[in-house]
């Protein structure tokens, strides 16, 4: 079903908190990547917007960030107001393609874990090697569901 609609009439009322963290790895999680920079920013224009810069630990994990969200009960019934807040995440590590994911839903009282699979750069960069990767955070390419 399409609960994560683009056309909610009203944005969320962020009077509560939710939690978000990222796990950065390569090779399908076989190799966690320490020291990656992870940026978390509000995905909408608002006056309570935040911007965080986190680093991954040896397990490839960032600390858990507390971010503004609507209350957990906001999503208990269908409605026109978005029951979650949206955040954008970027990740950077030298030697890897940068990562970006837009409009990640974060709910009140709930932990959101963003898996970030980074792809190593080819040996000779600058050779127009621009892969079209699944899950590279481009919502148009990734969210292919038609309903």
């Amino acid at each position: 079903m399409d609960l994560y609609k683009d056309d909610f009439k009203y944005p969320s009322v962020n009077n509560w908190v939710g939690y978000i963290k990222a796990r950065v790895f390569t090779a399908n999680g076989a190799i966690p990547l320490p020291d990656a920079t992870v940026l978390i920013e509000s995905g909408e224009d608002r006056n309570d917007s935040i911007s965080l810069e986190l680093k991954t630990d040896e397990n490839g994990e960032t600390p858990t960030a507390e971010v503004p969200t609507p209350t957990a009960a906001a999503g208990d019934a269908p409605g026109e107001t978005r029951p979650y807040a949206v955040y954008n995440i970027e990740a950077y590590l030298p030697g890897y393609y940068p990562y970006q994911s837009l409009s990640i839903p974060v709910f009140g009282d709930t932990l959101t874990v963003q898996p970030i699979g980074l792809i190593p750069l080819p040996l000779y960069d600058g050779n127009e090697v621009i892969p079209d990767l699944p899950g590279d955070g481009n919502p148009d390419a990734d969210r292919t569901n038609e309903s």
């Binding site: 399409d2 609960l3 190593p120 080819p122 000779y124 090697v129 079209d132 899950g135």
Partner: protein, 469 residues
């Protein structure tokens, strides 16, 4: 069709409608369900509503897999991400902590109609904009709030004659121990647990090593289990029930697959950087073997490229992998490895080897880059050379260490000359041709693998139950 349903180790998902050109990705079964549940419902719903929805999603997926619905139509995937055809799956999406925990607990359970073997084709829809002859997703919320359990909710929609099947056998590494493992437990299951955790901790260093790994579950095992549980969003209670057991298995399989591929390696004499001719379906031999190795390695890092067998025979699976590679890198999708495709495959492979943290690639040397390195050369190949030389310098005092700059200056030239003199390499001094490169990488490999054997850091490493399922 198998006699009784099992939980597959992995699911291949087509990222589009069945007949639409789109990549396939292969993910573990629990990861697939976590993704579907995070895409289909809200994580803030009451727990029994979430469980009812997850059981429907598991049963739906297992039905597709058990009946080989897509495979029977000639497709090379198990299920699609199309909500019209199957259930929502957004590759790489965020996962909610509570959904992850519940799926780890119940991914090897499903519902079926009493008297039937196959998992229920558990149709569902949102119940507001779309209604259907199945479960209403929104409808589960008030039912759970009225105190109904997940099974009572499911019976409301699918009828009283459905039943829950639990402890379904799990593919890819053996089933969980019959009783949870905890401090004081002992025996072969504990041994397997310790072996796997110790292997995982090599890649995930915040998980402490268990020593001695004696088959007895003591405090150091409990600490390692708790650290694993914290790292993978499980309840950190130090007790290994099915959820923790299968999660460990899942991570272990991924970690080991990559290191197996590393240890297979390629020797430099196996390498040709230029192709004699193009390679296509029906070809066989050494050069196909090398191409398959590169593609397999790349496939571990790039999800759209399927895994293939490295056997030296260019069959349809290799052709599909080549096509997926070409698609990913924007090359003409021919399934033929021509000079351009070879160049890309080689560079992508070499880039991975160079860019991932060094401890994962020690002993994995990159083949001769095809250009002679000498005074004035610069770039990644020079940086690799300097890394190899420094590693060798650690054991041979005649060879000086050099700064790793990526620039081939007089210090690098001197180190190369010393290496050539020490190992009696023919040819011009201080210049790295294919012959010298091969000698340097050979010595590096020997040193590296020699040390691994001497350290013997993983007692019982070979005592695994892989492949028993």
């Amino acid at each position: 069709m198998p006699n009784t349903p099992t939980i597959p180790e992995s699911v291949t998902v087509h990222l589009g409608r069945p007949d639409q050109a789109a990549p396939n990705v292969t993910v573990s079964f629990p990861d697939y369900i976590k993704n579907v549940a995070s895409s289909e419902i809200y994580p803030t719903w009451p727990e029994e509503a979430i469980r009812a929805n997850i059981l429907s999603e598991i049963s739906f997926a297992l039905n597709r897999i058990y009946t080989e619905y897509y495979r029977n139509q000639g497709y090379d995937f198990d299920i699609t991400s199309s909500t019209a055809a199957d259930q929502s799956f957004v590759f790489g999406r965020e996962i909610y902590g509570n959904i992850s925990r519940i799926v780890d607990e119940i991914f090897n359970s499903y519902i079926r109609r009493r008297g039937n073997v196959e998992p229920l084709f558990a149709v569902y829809c949102d119940g507001i904009e779309v209604s259907c002859d199945g479960l209403s997703q929104w409808g589960t919320v008030p039912l759970a709030k009225n105190g109904m359990s997940a099974m009572e909710i499911l019976k409301t929609y699918f009828g009283d004659d459905i039943e829950l099947v639990t402890d379904v056998p799990v593919g890819g590494g053996g089933s969980a121990p019959p009783v949870p493992l905890r401090e004081g437990s002992a025996g072969p299951f504990v041994e397997i647990l310790q072996t796997r955790l110790n292997r995982i901790s090599t890649n995930y260093p915040l998980i402490p090593k268990i020593y001695p790994a004696s088959g007895v579950f003591g405090p150091s095992t409990e600490n390692a289990v708790k650290a694993f549980q914290s790292a993978f969003d499980l309840t950190p209670d130090g007790i290994v029930g099915p959820a923790t057991w299968y999660r460990i298995q899942n991570v272990y399989v991924g970690v080991k697959r990559l290191s197996d591929l590393n240890s297979e390696g390629l020797t430099v004499e196996e390498i040709t950087t230029t192709l004699p001719e193009s390679l296509s379906r029906g070809d066989s031999g050494e050069i196909v073997f090398i191409a398959q190795y590169y593609l397999s390695y790349v496939g571990e890092f790039i999800d759209s490229i399927p895994r293939i067998r490295i056997d030296g025979n260019f069959g349809i699976l290799t052709e599909n992998a080549v096509k997926a590679f070409q698609e990913t890198y924007g090359l003409p999708v021919t399934g033929v490895i021509d000079a351009v495709t070879w160049y890309y495959i080689y560079n992508v492979y070499s880039g991975i080897v160079e860019n991932i943290p060094q401890n994962y690639t020690e002993g994995v040397t990159v083949p001769f880059p095809g250009i002679v390195l000498e005074i004035g050369s610069e770039g990644n190949a020079v940086r690799l050379l300097q890394n190899y030389l420094n590693y060798i310098a650690g054991s041979f005092s005649d060879i000086p260490e050099v700064p790793v700059t990526g620039y081939f200056g007089s210090q690098t030239e001197n180190a190369v000359t010393q290496f050539q003199n020490l190992f009696g390499i023919a040819g011009d001094r201080g210049i790295v041709t294919g012959l010298t490169w091969k000698a340097i990488t050979d010595v590096y490999d020997d040193l590296y693998f020699g040390r691994i054997a001497a350290e013997g850091q993983y007692p019982g490493y070979d005592l695994t139950l892989d492949g028993n399922a």
